[in-house]
């Protein structure tokens, strides 16, 4: 009996495989994830600090940061609204085709980015199905930053939908029933009662969509036009430097991208951790 109490308390390991699973995990993470990143720093160490800053602040590179960050921000904001709408409709309403719509949400994750890239480029080019209609109206999407934002929004929409959806599902019916019975209108009730529960998940999903957009490559390069200073994304700048065998230049720019995306990932993880703890604290 006393032994039973002993292992329930979790102070000892009853289950086997700690050493084996720890060995495999640490070996794999070290070899596959961490070791290659050291290669980047090895390459960077061949640059002086002045050379490093000269590369990462060169005009064309800075222009690519602007294009990438601007388009990713627009894509993330559009997805915040569109994703919230889709999550709401999928959780709250019953209608024919709902299951299909739900399945369709994962398409951008399942579809290879290069396929998405050539398809969007073909659709929105001047002679494409969509370009045909919108270009006479003066709306140019292909080969502009709008096209870049569109491709980013396409590849990252599931992040928002799939982060908000479960939170909305777990929201008890009493929450909005109480608001409605007290006579609030839909708009006020949504803003005052639903949004406070939803916005941590919405911020997380939008943040993930933004990080994904910053690094996206395959879906964008076909529709972007890739004009220096105008429609060149940072991932493409790295690719161009590599094709010129300028490994030092590629590494310097890559280090900026890597640092920003890892910092954002860490921030999102901390944000999410805090929010999850608060939620559980509230329940207990």
């Amino acid at each position: 009996m006393s032994q039973l109490a002993f292992w329930r308390s979790g102070s000892t390991r009853v289950l086997p495989g700690f050493g084996l699973s720890m060995g495999i995990s640490v070996l794999f993470i070290s070899l596959v994830l961490l070791l290659p990143i050291t290669g980047l720093f090895g390459q960077l160490s061949e640059l002086s600090l002045a050379e490093y800053f000269a590369i990462i602040t060169e005009g064309r590179v800075v222009a690519s940061y602007m294009v990438t960050i601007g388009a990713a921000a627009v894509a993330a904001l559009v997805n915040a609204v569109f994703g919230l709408l889709l999550a709401w409709v999928l959780v709250r309403y019953e209608f024919p085709g709902k299951r299909l719509l739900d399945a369709l949400m994962d398409l951008p994750f399942a579809l290879p980015t290069a396929v998405a890239g050539i398809t969007l480029a073909t659709l929105y080019a001047g002679n494409g199905w969509v370009g045909n209609i919108i270009e006479p109206m003066g709306l140019q999407v292909a080969y502009t930053w709008v096209g870049i934002a569109l491709a980013m929004a396409f590849t990252s929409i599931p992040f928002v939908v799939r982060t908000v959806q479960p939170v909305l599902e777990d929201l008890p019916a009493e929450v909005d029933e109480a608001a409605m019975s007290l006579g609030a209108t839909d708009g006020v009730a949504f803003r005052r009662v639903i949004m406070p529960h939803l916005w941590p998940a919405l911020v997380t999903g939008t943040g993930l969509a933004f990080v994904r957009s910053l690094g996206e490559f395959g879906a964008i390069i076909f529709i972007a036009g890739n004009m220096p200073y105008e429609t060149e994304i940072t991932a493409l700048m790295i690719f161009v430097k590599l094709q010129e065998y300028d490994y030092a230049g590629a590494s310097a720019i890559a280090s900026v991208v890597l640092f920003v995306s890892l910092a954002l990932l860490l921030a999102i993880n901390i944000w999410q951790g805090r929010f999850v703890r608060r939620l559980h604290g509230g329940k207990g």
Partner: protein, 275 residues
């Protein structure tokens, strides 16, 4: 009791907007892929799919995916077992590290492998002097594919195994079952569907990876061209119908992935309804 957004007008408006936007934004591209691929008839599509370079690209893509899956599977199961069955210092750090491939741009992923294992890299230089070439050859493609796909299995398993807890396994072990018996008889039946979905996701990403692979492959036709690289070359050569023929094959795999997911979810919801 009326809930928020239940008024018929609001409801219709929101459903209508969601359907319209999804149709334009998500469904239209999907339709366009197949329309383009078959725009000159089934025969032309078939010729494009069955030419030697396309067949080679299909073969290489499948071989890479088949080699990636078991490696990611072993790692994913080991990591999930480790972080859900034991508590130890550094557990949260491991869980954060596993997300790195999701945050790193595919081009950067390809680059860091090229720097380390390329001819001028720390390891690549030594390998080169022993006549081993990893980059611009299939091993390089395999390595970056493992990098970008390794989180999927673990990501599917960890929440499930955390929710299930370790009581059943502990019972089996205290009754005298060995570690492997416990794993095969108790753990595996509980996680098999999540495991299957993890494999499906790994496969979808392995087959479709473009950015990382294009950095390390060299894209030599008939040698190191995967299907996504092959369709890019055709598209750049203004052979749109050929490019979309390959794209249609990849889109088909994507659709099968979505169908599998819907099927697994339907199964799970049915089981929930019974219990």
């Amino acid at each position: 009791m009326r809930r928020i957004g239940d008024a018929p007008l609001v409801r219709r408006l929101l459903i209508g907007a969601a359907l319209l936007l999804s149709a334009l934004f998500l469904l239209l591209p999907l339709v366009a892929i197949f329309a383009q691929a078959f725009s000159q008839g089934v025969m032309v599509f078939w010729e494009n799919v069955s030419n030697a370079f396309t067949l080679h690209a299909i073969g290489l893509t499948l071989v890479i995916a088949l080699m990636t899956i078991p490696i990611c599977l072993v790692f994913g199961v080991a990591l999930a077992w480790l972080v859900t069955r034991f508590s130890f210092p550094g557990r949260r750090i491991l869980q954060t590290l596993i997300d790195i491939p999701f945050a790193v741009s595919p081009v950067v992923a390809g680059l860091i492998y090229l720097l380390l294992y390329g001819r001028n890299g720390w390891i690549g230089g030594w390998l080169d002097s022993h006549d081993i070439q990893l980059m611009f050859a299939w091993p390089g493609i395999l390595m970056v594919t493992i990098f970008v796909t390794c989180p999927f299995v673990a990501r599917e398993l960890i929440p499930l195994m955390q929710a299930q807890g370790s009581r059943e396994e502990e019972a089996a072990v205290t009754l005298g079952a060995s570690g492997w018996t416990t794993f095969w008889r108790v753990t595996l039946p509980n996680i098999r569907w999540a495991l299957l979905y993890g494999i499906i996701l790994t496969n979808a990403r392995a087959v479709g990876e473009f950015g990382a692979v294009s950095v390390v492959s060299g894209a030599i036709r008939g040698q190191t061209n995967t299907l996504p690289l092959h369709l890019e070359q055709l598209y750049q050569d203004y052979n749109a119908v050929g490019a979309f023929a390959s794209a249609a094959l990849l889109a088909l795999i994507a659709l099968l992935t979505l169908a599998a997911k819907a099927g697994l979810e339907w199964r799970a919801s049915r089981r929930e309804a019974y219990t």
